[in-house]
């Protein structure tokens, strides 16, 4: 691991004055792992754990504000999250391990990096790790990698479960930088790789996520379904976050986001368009699933993900509407 300057941030303003070459550390579960692999090599590491942005509070409009330093375990077990945003609690509890969830934070999880094996191995070319070097995953071992939002430069999957749930919940992200504060909807926060896979979000150097805000809860049902190689402690091959409300037998409101198949937490407006106003039945669900994957671009080893994601969406929708 390269040497770095360690700074304990005393205030939000002092934390955001460093720019390129600096990294914030909160839980450390992702950053320190990658620093050990020489995948991340920051010159400055700013410890933000002392900053007062760790609370979970009810917003004035009835939504919920998750401080950026709120730990994944605390969010998952928070009574308001379990009651009103079950999809988020389920997503968090399906990820990592209890120890990691005690460390990992809301803001850090938003910035979790891909588990693409080539990204994590400096012996291989990777456009995300080192721009312009090429993509070893295309034509390589890509069984775990993305089928949606890919480019000829990168097919890395966004690994997070939390972010899929937050996408279905239409969360907003509060950001503080040297230039002031701003709020970004989560669907505008992530970038697809295109020709710049190393740029993953709209965050500018020095900007710090301070909180995530959930809108007031939808009076319906929400669930997270995660399919993976083993039942615990594994990343998604395909996952679906669904928020849905019925009016009689018709679907009044639907939000669908996918994990494990996209280069970013994947909101499927196509699936939602099929669902809205349609009867909650197997035909509708199959059509929604096919709409969600219609632009899928499978690689040499991950063609199975298209049908796996279909079935994941159908089962999530079926489960969510059966028990409404």
């Amino acid at each position: 691991m390269d040497a770095f300057q360690f700074i304990r941030a005393e205030s939000l303003n002092s934390a955001t004055k460093y720019g390129v070459g600096a990294k914030f550390v909160a839980g450390g579960t992702n950053l320190i792992d990658m620093m050990k692999l020489d995948v991340e090599r920051p010159k400055v590491v700013i410890d933000i754990n002392g900053l007062p942005i760790d609370k979970i509070t009810v917003a004035s409009n009835g939504g919920l504000v998750l401080g950026a330093l709120a730990r994944n375990a605390d969010v998952a077990h928070h009574p308001a999250v379990q009651r009103d945003y079950a999809v988020l609690s389920q997503a968090l509890l399906s990820g990592a391990s209890p120890q990691l969830r005690n460390m990992a934070t809301t803001g850090g999880n938003l910035l979790q990096r891909t588990r693409c094996p080539y990204f994590r191995d400096t012996a291989h070319a990777c456009n995300k790790r080192e721009s312009g070097t090429g993509c070893s995953a295309i034509g390589g071992h890509n069984r775990m990698l993305a089928v949606l939002g890919t480019s000829e430069h990168c097919i890395a999957t966004n690994p997070s479960d939390q972010n899929v749930a937050l996408t279905a919940l239409e969360a907003t992200i509060q950001i503080q930088g040297a230039g002031g504060n701003r709020t970004v909807p989560i669907h505008s926060f992530y970038r697809v790789p295109g020709v710049t896979p190393h740029i993953e979000t709209v965050l500018q150097p020095g900007e710090l996520i301070t909180s995530v805000t959930l809108p007031p809860p939808v009076a319906g049902k929400s669930i997270y379904l995660k399919l993976r190689d083993r039942a615990a402690y594994e990343f998604a091959l395909a996952s679906a976050a669904v928020v849905i409300k019925l009016n009689g037998k018709r679907i009044d409101y639907a939000r669908v986001a996918l994990g494990g198949v996209g280069t970013k937490p994947w909101r499927s407006l196509e699936a939602e368009a099929v669902l809205h106003g349609a009867p909650a039945d197997p035909v509708t669900f199959r059509r929604a699933a096919e709409a969600a994957l219609k632009d899928a671009h499978p690689q040499s080893e991950n063609g199975y993900k298209v049908e796996l994601a279909h079935r994941c969406i159908i089962r999530a929708l079926t489960t969510a509407t059966q028990s409404v």
Binding site: A3, G28, I32, N49, A96, Q99, M103, A232
Partner: protein, 216 residues
């Protein structure tokens, strides 16, 4: 033909025994390491006392960060390279080797300790991030003669084979006692999946954890 008496075996002569009459594996390896330095780097060793004499006793090496770390109820004043993980600090700086290094990437749970009462992977945290935190390791949980009930239960239920994952398993298991975990064996398995046991002692680990939960 006369046999050599056992006590004249060169391996067991008084001269080769330490004063305490036994070696621990760790002290033996530490001495071996020191001997290696003498053999391979005499100039460095010879120069060291002169440098030390010029420096104040508490001087920090360039780039180190001062901090006070509270471990098992005791405060330690340290100057650490910020790259030092909490795990390495416990084992190498504070001589608390009960916490084990398995994968060193947060995947196996062998390094599990408690920070402010919550279980974490000490390999994925820099020690300098823990000024002011209350850290508990397996050494702080209990010692021979006054074991924590969970340690005693692991002995009683044979919850290990090679023992390498055991301190992490026990630290996780003690945390489970305070976490929202359901009553069944499956609930315990689900709460303990962050601790891998390569020997596969899982059934006995679950039995140990359940015995403590039922008697609590």
């Amino acid at each position: 033909m006369a046999k050599l008496p056992l006590d004249s075996d060169p391996e067991s002569t008084a001269e080769t025994k330490p004063a305490s009459g036994h070696f621990s594996r760790r002290s033996f390896l530490s001495q071996l390491g020191a001997a290696g330095i003498v053999a391979t780097a005499p100039p460095l060793l010879a120069a060291a006392p002169a440098i030390a004499a010029q420096e104040p006793a508490a001087a920090a090496a360039a780039g180190t960060v001062p901090l006070t770390l509270r471990v098992n109820g005791k405060a330690h004043t340290l100057h650490l390279d910020p790259r030092t993980t909490l795990l390495d600090c416990l084992r190498e700086n504070l001589d608390l080797p009960g916490t084990k290094k398995g994968c060193d990437h947060g995947q196996c749970g062998a390094c599990t300790v408690h920070v402010n009462g919550r279980r974490v992977n000490s390999c994925l945290s820099f020690a300098v991030m823990h000024a002011g935190d209350e850290i508990t390791t397996i050494e702080g949980l209990g010692q021979p003669g006054h074991l924590h009930p969970m340690q005693a239960a692991f002995v009683e239920h044979d919850g290990y084979q090679c023992g390498y994952c055991t301190s992490g398993q026990i630290m996780s298991a003690v945390a489970v006692l305070k976490e929202p975990v359901g009553p069944s064996d499956d609930d315990v398995k689900n709460a303990m999946y962050g601790n891998i046991c390569r020997c596969g002692a899982y059934p006995n680990i679950v039995a140990a954890v359940q015995s403590v939960r039922r008697s609590a």
